[in-house]
């Protein structure tokens, strides 16, 4: 009897450690009362002041002990900044918060303008070293655009989605379009061929077929729905009015489709703007890493 298998006891649940609660929240820029902004400012000012205090002969350059120091700090910073991409996706347990990381990323990233530039000693030219510096500046400037978008666009995204009974989601907008299309299809049956063709063109146009620039500029010049509305109205202006005109229904549906399309397009526009700068920021980061390696390699081997 002693060896009878016992049913496995259910794992006992324990209180989780490191659980933090904060009901008063602040965004990443204001995180902890601008802690990282303060740190980055101190760092930058220290570098600036020491630049003028330290006397390097014949003049400041990347190869002096002082230049090396700044260079090392800068390179390490760049590596660390790149790690944000990893941190964002590696959902490991622990007390980290991506908000704090982003906050530090932004302010320390900005301090690189000072650190990186002082490291060059303002000796710029047509070489791999300056290439690395320029790429760094491109990454930083794209980051500044990012901050601008992150600070200004979310409100618009939210307003555009807002609705009297809560908020519509992207999926709902697409559903709405689909069903409007179905209704249009039915409502267009009694129309004459020329009119029906206009509606058909609106149905056939995929709301997603706009290219990236149309999407982000929210200018869809070839919009068949808008064209159909205009053209049908023009045609009708020459037709005698009769009660129960099928065109009335089609016109109403087309208008609803247009306003739904407008909302979806605005949604896509804002979403693209929130991402577009990353298409510069991230690839340029990789280019920067490559250039940085080349820069360091050449400094040590081809002095």
């Amino acid at each position: 009897m002693a060896t009878q298998a016992q049913p496995a006891a259910p794992a006992v649940r324990k209180k989780t450690t490191g659980r933090q609660r904060n009901s008063m929240h602040d965004g990443f820029l204001r995180h902890r009362n601008f802690r990282w902004m303060k740190i980055a400012t101190v760092l930058s000012i220290t570098c600036l002041v020491s630049y003028f205090l330290v006397d390097v002969q014949p003049r400041h350059n990347g190869g002096s002990w002082y230049g090396y120091t700044l260079g090392t700090i800068g390179a390490l910073l760049i590596l660390w900044l790149t790690c944000l991409g990893l941190r964002k996706r590696a959902i490991t347990p622990g007390g980290w918060s991506l908000k704090a990381w982003t906050s530090a990323h932004v302010y320390l990233g900005l301090s690189l303008i000072v650190i990186g530039t002082l490291h060059t000693g303002f000796q710029l030219g047509w070489n791999v070293h300056t290439l690395a510096w320029s790429l760094m500046m491109i990454v930083i400037i794209s980051g500044i655009f990012g901050i601008y978008f992150y600070a200004t666009l979310p409100d618009n995204l939210s307003n555009n989605r807002a609705d009297s009974d809560g908020a519509v989601t992207e999926r709902m907008m697409i559903e709405q379009l689909r069903s409007l299309d179905r209704q249009l299809h039915d409502a267009a049956q009694p129309l004459d061929p020329a009119q029906a063709a206009l509606v058909q063109a609106s149905l056939e146009q995929d709301p997603f077929d706009g290219n990236f620039f149309q999407r982000i500029g929210n200018s869809y010049r070839g919009c068949e729905t808008r064209a159909a509305i205009a053209e049908l109205r023009r045609m009708r202006a020459y037709q005698p009015r009769m009660g129960d005109d099928p065109l009335d229904k089609v016109d109403g549906l087309l208008q609803r489709k247009e306003s739904t399309l407008a909302r979806l397009r605005k949604h896509l526009q804002i979403k693209s703007m929130l991402q577009v700068w990353l298409f510069v920021h991230v690839p340029m980061t990789f280019a920067l890493l490559a250039a940085l390696s080349a820069h360091i390699f050449s400094v040590f081997f081809y002095w």
Binding site: P10, K14, T16, H25, K88, I91, S179, K271
Partner: protein, 851 residues
Amino acid sequence: MSEIFRVAIIGSGPAGKSAAGRAASLGLSHILLEKTDHLSDTIYKYQKGKHVMATPSQLVLRSDQEFEAGKREAILENWNQRTKELGVNVKFNAEAKAIRGTGPAIEGSVHVIEMRGRDGTITKKEIQRYAPPYEIELTNGEKIMAENVVFAIGTQGNPNRMRCPGGDLPHVQYQLDDPTEYVDEHIVVIGAGDAGIENARGLAEDAAQGNVVTIVSRGPEAPSPKESFPTAKEANALALLGDRNAGKLFIRFETDTASVEPGWITFSTRDGEERVRCDRIIARIGSAPPRAFIEECGIAFTSADRLAFPQLSPVFESTAPGIFVIGALAGYPLIKHCMNQGYDVIEFINGNTELKPADEPILEAKFRDLPGRKSVAEWLDLLRENVTILNGMNPLQMREFMLDSDAKFYRKGDVIFERAAPGSSLFAIAQGSVAVQIDPSDTSKIVPIGQGSIFGEVGLISGRRRGATVVAAEDTICVEISRNAALKLQSQVPTAKKAIERISTERLLLQMFGSGLKPDDIAEVVETSKIRQVKPGEAILKEGDEGNEIYVIRVGSMIVEKEIGGKPVFLSYLPAGSYVGEMALIAGGRRTATVKAAIKSEVIRIDGDAFKKVLEANPELLKRAKRDMASRQDINAFIEAKKDSFSGVVDMYSGVANFLVENGIGEATDVLLIDESLCVGCDNCEKACADSHDGLSRLDREAGRSYAHLHVPTSCRHCEHPHCMADCPPNAINRGPDGEVYINDTCIGCGNCQRNCPYGVIRMDKVPPKKPSLLSWLFFGFGPGPGEPSKKWAYANSDPGVEKPKKAIKCDMCAGIEGGPSCVRACPTGAAIRVAPDEFLTVARLEQEEA
């Protein structure tokens, strides 16, 4: 009338067909009556291909039928086969309608049925019981005679029928198995509850089917979806309105059915009658629980409570001699339990008195760690005798009760629970005694609680955290009664309910007012107090009214509002365990604010004069009450002052508070909010949730409602009294040590919790296969990347040999993950936060808002 069967079994679910199988093997003369034309209708109606689970795993199956976890189809096939092999005498299409004893009247055995009308009046109906044999009348008029009757009809009940002329035509149906079956039909769905809405949406979902779908609702259309469809979940109501706006289907409000003919339906509306084309009617107007039918047979229930079950002896015999009740109807909602009971009940009827219940090993395991070698029966007796609230139970009830509860042994000095720990269970002291540490700063201040009494009732009733630390004062044996078991207990044993209410009122008052009060001091207050249910939105106090009662919030929460400048302004949020009404009592005058329920609540109404006496006798208490009052007056004054200078801010504060309360925050303990002025829509929160939880996200960021850039996404709120727990057959939903409501592995995937959660946060899904590591995705592009993998990827990469069941999944508040909620930690901008409502709805927020 020919044969008198030894036993007639009504209902061929797991319980009934197992009983019939046993009767057949024993060679008893028997008949199995089944309403439908197939066995086991409840399981027959499960979704196609559903994986049926065999929980609890420790329970051995004792039946002539077989049962193992597997696909619905395989299980039904096996049961049909076995039923044939065993030679069971089945009669299909035999719905029992009435049962009468044909013997002499049993003297003094009268069953009184109380019927409560809508207006609250109670009518009584007396039923004289007659001795067996019983005559069972079927709906088709046939009659069947049997000495014993076993009721195994489950709890599904019968759908309510349409009563209008033509309501019995064949194209009126009460269920919809497969909405894709119908094409090009005009279909009318009657009843806009969840079932009706789901059916209507299903029928209209694919436009290619060409159905013209209309859903009919009696009530009028209101400004908010929730009020337009009061019996449906908000998510369903919203989706239905969405479909209507999208032109997929039609909704008719304020409409009733006047008559039905083939091909047509006539509605009666406010503007008169209207005849409309209609090829098919799907009526989803609720179902009547089987209770009325069973009571008519002379079977008493333990109480009038909706949760009550029939009153049964240890051998499942009801109050009508020779009528037995088993299965879900007897309170055992799992297939294995049902089958075992089917076997047992036939053995009992056949005169077997030695049989030990099959749940013996489970109970043995529960008592294994207690000191002193006692048998299960001895333990059960000891608990029942020693614990006052268990005195009224019979041995069968005790067994069932212990299946949901735990017996625990504590050494002297052991902590039983700590102050502020979450927990909704009730403790009863079977042996020994405990000490309650009432002052967190001084552990020597204690209140003793002795053998036989209970503690922990605050957590049980209000769903809030424990109010004090409790330690064992000597070696002690306690029964920890889960919330479900405690609710069942209260509905089965009315005296237990009274006792718990009294103790909880007394303790709540003592704890709230502190100041060295003794039970004797407040005896009169407790005696004259009344518990009152409050509907959501109903006011217990109105600004300007007279009155000096005090109200203590026992369950739920309230909001306090004051009319300023013609508009109601939100003043504060009161969780359970707070009191209101003291101002009028202490300072005199009229009520200064309106207090109304944020959600369905319960308050204790305390007589003002009785309480005044207590105040006068206890200067300490009076001082404290005055202090509380002063701080509330300060808040009111603060807001009123702000109202003039910063009226926009105050309106906003009021608006946000009301919005949150409307969205059920009043019953939440922890809710995910998104500040949409920070959210960049990256969905990293969802991805993080999926990546830290088996690849399935438990939140839908975009869905849900917003107000003033504050968004309540679809994610669990960890309600104080979780609706999802109510109907879980294996009791798989519990509250964990972090306060999280979580679902454990024993989930059988029945979907009840998904239907019961009013916030639509539970999804049924199977765990996708494991993804390649993050680095191999980053560097080599292996796998689908972070976040929940697409269904396509999951399908292509899962092992076809292994069948994974669909289970209920929901947010577990990241319990057990160091650092807490992944969704919050992974938000790059700080938009996502998880908060408790009483932390969030404070004036401090107003001050911050202003800054």
